[in-house]
Amino acid sequence: MTFWQRLGRVSKTQSPIVFRWDLDKTYLQTDFDSLRGLVRVPFEKPQDKVAVPGVVPLIRGLRDAATEAGREVQIYFISASPAQLAKAIKQKLALDGIEYDGIVFKDQLGHLVRGHFRSLREHVGFKLTELLKSRRTVPAASREILFGDDWESDPIIYSLYADILAGRIDGEELGEVLRVIGVHPGLIAEAKELAAGAEHGDAVTRIYINLERRTPPTRFRSFGPRLVPTFNYLQTAVCLFADGYLALPAVAGVAESLIEDAGYTPSALVNSMADLVRRGHVPEAPSLAVRDFLTPRGLMPAERRRGLVAAVWHRVVRWVRQAGAPASPPIDAIDYHHLVTQWRALGGGR
């Protein structure tokens, strides 16, 4: 599907849009990879918490673009952090000026009290059931875009959720997959019940996974073309622009944030975007539009000057390569048994 066809498709379907965000490592730069960081997290004040570079202008841009298009938009956060952190996190979101429609935390204390120790570390059951519950509260025709990271099981959780909504996975298979993962039997039963009641439709259009751990992109191939692993939020923004969910000024806002808050250089941004194009997640046309918009603003370096013949030849080569590039394959049914085994063998995101 070409860029223009994508734009056409999006402009025709004015269904409500839901953006669901994981919190730790996706929205917040939470340091739980070190013992020191783990101990510090509960005592962090809202102003001490740091958002992942580019995420704040991206979320604002998504809401603005949908609102401008006259589309109903909802933003939800889901976190496996204990509810005791809710106050600080909500204050942080307020400080960042992020408006949201719902936020869910995990009842870790409840698991502890009930003696569900395995559930303390296992998040698939919790997140999947919460996503399915939340789905019941949004308009039936809503389209969804999900944002997670490569630290835990977001790719599996989000893919399961998308396939349940699409009717590609039945209750029996879902139960079996969740059993293999080690989800608590109570949550498996709940998830199956929620899945059975879900209205079927290809609601989830994209899943973005923030490669915070620099997991090699090829490890996400089995999740299909719906899942896009991105190394930074410029890559995510460019994809969202290509899909028609974000305007160019918002992409520029993300680029500015990366430069100002995280010390990115204009050439680092160009390299990032080129990487996304090479990996086949975005066609060349929208990336050129982004470059044309960002270059005069000093956010990307000017392209190397070529002679007229070389420039024309370069365009022709690009056009031929793009024309010859295979279109995104349709989403096939994912073999979750194989995928879960493979994913676990690689140590989750690693």
């Binding site: 090699p216 930074n232 890559q235 990487d275 996304l276 190397r304």
Partner: protein, 337 residues
Amino acid sequence: MPSIAVDAMGGDFAPEEVVKGVAQVSLRTDIQCTLVGNEQEIQAILDRVPYNPERIGVQHTTEFVTMAEDPKVGLRRKRRASVLVAARLVADGHADAVVTAGNTGAAVIACTQCFKAIQGVFKPALASVYPRQTEYPGQDQLALLLDVGATIRCDATELVQFAIMGSAYARHVSKVPNPRVALLNMGVEETRGGDILVEAYHRLKNCRGINFVGNIEGTDLAKGKADVIVCEGLLGNVALKILEGVAEVVVDLAGTARRESWRWKLGFFMLAGSIGRLRDLTDYAIYGGAPILGFEHVMIKSHGRSNARAVENAIKVAAKAVRDGVTQEIAAGIEQV
């Protein structure tokens, strides 16, 4: 921060090991790299390893000179050969230095075609580093030998220029404050080796800024008597290959001995630490590569059999040479002479 153009298609294990080396650099340093080669092949390799895309650019080209190809013919036919494109990126100011593990002849010709020679330099020199005995604690374990193949025969002036270039490089990259320079000869006496070497000896002896320690023989090459050894390309290349060959045979013999009998096996076990050190010392992956000197830009030529680690270290060497302004110092040295 330096930007390095890397010939992704050059080397026995290219593009796999070259791309992996660049991926490692992208995660561990702030060096910007541009991989020059087949975009699809490069991305397919990157997809399988951890990397930081913000520090890696790709310049697409499908042409490259193979290791076995005649470099002159190869570069004449392939105007978009990866090594040539990489050198052009540097010449046009889009990168600061080139790293290649590919065909040595092609690397030298690419420099000649794309880079300006430093004013006053008559011939470029291909340098190589090799392991040697250390004479005092903290002494660099590697010595610099040049020329090892950019030239065949040289006159005295060219040998003096090699000494200046090697000295400047060793001062910055090998961190030897006052590198000792020697002429490789068939005897230590100043009258040995024929007219050219005798003239070079006298000129080096009177050359300000050069710490000339006289002639050294082949037997002293590995003994750490000098930090920079100067010779013509034919001689340097033969000397270097002998050193590499001997090191390989020693390690190989140790391996064979281990398989022979239980007593040798025991002996090998007891010597394992020393043999390991010898292997580390002769491992070209550790020192990465050596420069082609005499041009206004830096090109680091790494070993043809370079693995990812060797490529990573070659890129670091190139970045260091750029940061420390080695070419500018060479130009200043040549101007003085």
